[in-house]
Symmetry: C2
Subunit: 162 residues, 2 copies
Amino acid sequence: MEDTRWLTDEEQQVWRRLVHLVTVLPAALDAQLQRDARLTHFEYLVLAILSETPGRSRRMTDLAGLVNGSQSRLSHLVGRLERRGLIHRERSTEDRRGSVAVLTEAGWAAVVAAAPGHVAHVRSLVFDQLTPEQVRQLGDTLAAMLDRIAPADSCPGPTNPC
Amino acid sequence: MEDTRWLTDEEQQVWRRLVHLVTVLPAALDAQLQRDARLTHFEYLVLAILSETPGRSRRMTDLAGLVNGSQSRLSHLVGRLERRGLIHRERSTEDRRGSVAVLTEAGWAAVVAAAPGHVAHVRSLVFDQLTPEQVRQLGDTLAAMLDRIAPADSCPGPTNPC
């Protein structure tokens, strides 16, 4: 314990704020989307990614990487969206063992309906509070942290760079 | 939808990074603490707060606010820690309807044993990646976001300012 580099008072305060943010932000995102679109933020993310993909479809394994979720969590979620008619699953034509999630017309309509309210909420929670310089700095700071916490293939590009 | 102020490319990238961070950081914190101390990060937070409080005890209602958790989530967690002998619950002497969580000697020993490894992990994930200027800016940026997302009483001071 002699060698422990304890956090300074400033670092401790920043750390508490960061822990606070990672606790309250997901709940705030879920609350708006649940209320206005009957979707969790994780469900919305999956639909939004499919809506931005040519063919509106993705292999399940790729989707799990893009939303930083486990395969089993994603399977449950896609099952729920499938029962609501927002997604359907097909066998992959390239890889017979793989499965592909495809956005349905109803799923597309759900994203189109939910997106403006979600973006307005994200603006009001985050970007409206920050100067352009703070946004730029935050981007650099997040990139530096993510390089360490979730390097390489957990955030694939080029269609979803992060 | 005509009025929607969609995110710019830069804002979209920053937003994806932030969503990525709030997904992977809790999992990274849990992984180290589970491996080295058989505690989730949320459990560690509760023990750490109690260890820093005079009398090593807190009303359950105050604890829920300090860790930004719901009463029911906290009750489950405290129940688990109680079965492991790290905490015990007492009736509040001030408020007979209220309940107080008290850190046991074993709980104190668990925090003391876990803290150095946890701090080293937090340093390696976050602070070692950032310059002092970035840490300062991150603190300001997080404060601005939290003012909007979780204002006022969800983050009580002065013992746990955030």
